[in-house]
């Protein structure tokens, strides 16, 4: 390939590349914004009554600082993320995180679970 063609190809790659990558991802942004907003609003409307009461649920005081107790098997990364989330939610009045536990992962009833089992052995 002669240098001129190479320069042309380079330019093509750079421009096509950036344009396509941006175009595709911007298209994704639009779509996600649209459906995300629809879903979010629908969900919000549905939970309206509930939310009011839930808003006061956040803890407001943190009597004394203590070392964070973290349940085994939860990576520090997750702890940082939780800290960040709490910090942002509550601003200055954020309590010091003292204990991180996994939420119970199986709140379904036993028979619901059996129903699931049925679907996990479908062969």
């Amino acid at each position: 390939m002669d240098p001129q063609n190479e320069a042309l190809l380079s330019l093509t790659i750079l421009l096509t590349g950036l344009v396509v990558v941006f175009a595709v991802l911007i298209f994704l942004i639009l779509i996600i914004n649209v459906y995300g907003n629809i879903i979010y609003k629908v969900t919000q409307k549905r939970h309206k009554g509930k939310d009011k009461t839930e808003d006061v649920r956040a803890p407001v005081s943190a009597p004394e600082p203590a070392p964070i107790e973290v349940e085994e098997g939860i990576p520090g990364e997750v702890v940082a993320a939780i800290s960040a989330a709490v910090y942002m939610t509550c601003g200055d009045s954020a309590p010091v995180i003292r204990s991180v536990k996994r939420a119970a992962t199986n709140p379904r009833s036993l028979w619901g679970e059996a129903g699931r089992l049925e679907n996990t052995r479908p062969f």
Partner: protein, 369 residues
Amino acid sequence: MTNDWRNYIMIGIACILIYLAIKKEFEPLLLLPIAFGMMMVNLYPAIMAEPTATANGGLFYYLYQGVKLGIYPPLIFLGIGAMTDFGPLIANPKSFLLGAAAQLGIFLTFIGAIFIGNLGIPNLSFTAQEAGSIAIIGGADGPTAIFVTSKLAPQLLGPIAVAAYSYMALVPIIQPPIMKALTTKKERAVVMEQLRPVSKLEKILFPIIVTILISLLLPDAATLVGMLMLGNLMRESGVVSRIANTAQNELMNIITIFLGVTVGATASGEVFLSPQTIGIIILGLLAFCFGTAGGVLFGKLMFIATKGKVNPLIGSAGVSAVPMAARVSQKVGQEENPGNFLLMHAMGPNVSGVIGSAVAAGVLISILG
């Protein structure tokens, strides 16, 4: 098939890589198998031998078929999809812009590779296909790099894979200086708004929509993105945890071993010890730097556009290298303001960088393939 001096040098290089993988924990899950494969092929080249009329091929020849035929990388993407939470990206889809901007490194590196090839250094030139394969190192995404290289320039698999994984391991060292140089103290101290919660339904729809759109817009990215999204759909659906777990554990581990040793085994002495490899190493570093800069600069743009609501530090996470690059954003941000937690905000650009490099891979394959 006799060992010459270049094989012994390669064995030495393999030992250094093993040292870096074990002692420095440089992406050991892939560098260790890659380095061992490199060592094996230089000790015993017949392990990659093609079958003949009278003899079977070597072990690695057969395991390598999954690389050559493009089977392993999409299956690894299946597992990655099953471990990835796209929530932060859905909550803030503008992150996609940063994931796009950080692909700048890829396209600039392509130009760099063509340029270097024209400097007149003996034995140092790259075909357009080779330049594209080198460029994809800037995607900071191992399976994508291997997928593109196996299609465009399989002869460079060894050096490209080594460069990609080494620089991914070096992200915490490469990125911070660039991030600090390109941002002001004020920008770095920005505390971002909390992300909105993302519902289960949005998380389930996301992989389906992304698959449909990207497959239609850019078919050459369909295989990689499709498998990533299948894995993610299995994860978010919540009804097939059995297979989602196997995809992200045993299946991915088995393929990681096979992929690692055989990609390493493409690095025989004659191929690896060439001026090209040195070029690839330099270009790979440039690719990472340009990608980081692209992300951070676009972050600055968003800082201005949003009147200071976006911290430009999260832009560097757009190179992918999940989750390290996001961790780097968090760390650099916290240095400025100890109460600043950028991690979740940086995860958006971070995972969008994976999609972004797959799209960039599609562009390269469709133009050069």
